[in-house]
Symmetry: D2
Subunit: 106 residues, 4 copies
């Protein structure tokens, strides 16, 4: 999401750095990069990378929460943040977990 996106925060709050770090312990592959949840996914080829993005896109819209993501060929790099609360919220972790599920990570 960005500032132009009609996305209500619905009582979300920014998690503290300690809360973010503690939650990251149970989330395969993600880190906190400059205040955003961040992960780089790798695939066997472009078709698999984009198939993953399509599945994520459908779930993200349904959550009314959209990733910032960069793709080239078999790589998909993602940053998640909740602009309404100027930080990382539970919603970012929910989308991160859904991405991991779609990727096949526990």
């Amino acid at each position: 999401m960005n500032s132009t996106e009609p996305e209500p925060a619905r009582g979300l709050t920014a998690l503290s750095a300690d809360e973010v770090n503690a939650t990251l312990l149970s989330l395969t592959g993600w880190d906190n990069t400059a205040g955003k949840l961040h992960r780089k996914f790798k695939f066997a080829d472009f078709s698999r990378a984009f198939g993953f993005m399509s599945a994520v896109a459908i779930q993200a819209e349904s959550m009314r929460h959209h990733p910032e993501w960069f793709n080239v060929y078999n790589s998909v790099e993602v940053w998640l943040v909740t602009h309404d609360v100027a930080g990382i919220s539970k919603r970012d972790f929910e989308l991160a977990r859904r991405m991991n599920d779609l990727y096949g990570n526990p």
Copy 2:
């Protein structure tokens, strides 16, 4: 593909019914339905079904060979045939194998 699709057959021939049946023995999940390779794929939800379709779409266009397929929710039903040769060709089996690879079947 259909009759309006600019897709050259490049020396393909229709396989005989015996050849089709023999090749089907090593292809998980597919059958010969009314002269077309046919399989019904099931997924956990719509986002996974459509993510699969996106990956297949990218590979299919690259092969210049397109499936006939029907989707509702978590189900994707596929029929493959080569209209230029009025039958099932090696190209149909190649696309079927790619779909199985993307689905996770051996």
Copy 3:
């Protein structure tokens, strides 16, 4: 959607045949085929057909209402029905209108 899809009807009712026909008058390209809203969309090529399907897929999931659709090459044929009410509901018309918007129809 189908019977296995967890999709609540939320007070929807089946529209009468007269209501369906009256509403169809303002909906470009759709008809009532065997009790389902039905339209066949045509595109310049496969990539445009599938790009349309991707946009629709994202909106459909967000509505928790999924089309039955068949694609081959540049053609996308759609049937919409609300199984929970055993008929065509307002939700089918909403998805039909969204598809027309994405297709560029008024």
Copy 4:
């Protein structure tokens, strides 16, 4: 594409800065940013942005040439370069023109 992508250059050469600038004159919306063709596309919403990406993805794979692209919500930013020739080639302009066609630009 990137260095790990199995993509032959097939006699492509890097265009000179003058050639790039001259060709850009007839290409709506693109510029030369740090040695890559670059454009930012805007859409009405996320579903349209991602539908565009899906159509582009199908054509890009078919060309064996992939964009570097960044998406958030209704924005798609693209960079095109041909790593095999360490510069901008005719292939980048071809993909840029296809993107413009899919976007609806002349």
